[in-house]
Symmetry: C2
Subunit: 138 residues, 2 copies
DNA sequence: GCGTTTTCTTGAATGAGTCAAGTAAGGACG
DNA sequence: CGTCCTTACTTGACTCATTCAAGAAAACGC
């Protein structure tokens, strides 16, 4: 695990540091964690990390393409390991819970906007809004 | 214009006030404006409105379904008049510009998530990420 | 090891958005 | 038209995620 992340960091041209490995581990085991959750998880291993270090790691790893940042309206930033499967997210309007869903229409159609106003589009992000099972029953 | 908004407010059970009419006018003429932009536009007509009043109006109107709030990752909240056409947005990664795009796959398919984890889904939001014409050339 | 570069620590600042208490305005009803 | 109750607005303080800045520490090529 750690060794895998180790290599991934090197091949992205990033230095291998304890905070970065801990951040990757934290997000691997808690997908959709927010910055505070990551910070808490990282501090289990490394009690002395600063919050700034975690912000820096999250930004560096996101920029390098190893993490994906998701930020539904009204929510703080959340992170997940970037995987190549083009999945999307369902968000609960009540409690903010996030779950993964596969792309409903395949990969290619998602990138096809009918009228793109001259924009060069490189990604289509889909967020499904609704109510999670727990909030439905309550 | 004002008269139309007047009736729309009444039929949503909201009182008709100057700040609300001004907010609706502002967003009608500047789609995708953020809160500060709305505040500035409103103060052209009503120099004395408080920022809190604008926040309250935006929340009330959004809750009543007259406005749609859009908030792409890394951006502050933006608003547009809610129209029934299920359109989506392209966002420029560089400058944050927002433009409308029609739904590429029609209305119904957008709401079909293949595996919904028990969520009751009521809306699908699509954000296309890319680079706007201005930022492409620069 | 040595030195350079990147990353982390520390501490303060920014800014969108919210909270709370009191005043003002909307509008139903007489 | 005037009264009264309710909803909306004003004022001002506050929260909290995120960023900025300067110096210390760690990574890693040589």
């Amino acid at each position: 695990m750690t060794h895998t992340h180790d290599q991934a960091l090197r091949s992205s041209g990033l230095r291998v540091t304890k905070p970065r490995l801990a951040v990757l581990d934290a997000i691997g085991s808690r997908p959709h964690a927010d910055t505070n959750g990551v910070l808490a998880a990282v501090r289990v291993e490394l009690p002395a990390v600063s919050h700034q270090a975690v912000y820096d790691c999250l930004n560096a790893l996101t920029e390098a393409g190893m993490l994906r940042r998701i930020q539904p309206a009204g929510s703080v930033a959340r992170y997940e390991l970037r995987v190549g499967d083009n999945h999307h997210h369902v968000v609960c309007r009540t409690c903010g819970a996030v779950a993964d869903v596969d792309c409903s229409v395949g990969d290619a159609p998602c990138l096809t906007a009918s009228e793109h106003h001259g924009f060069e589009i490189d990604e289509a992000e889909v967020v499904y809004w609704g109510t999670c099972p727990d909030c439905s029953t309550a």
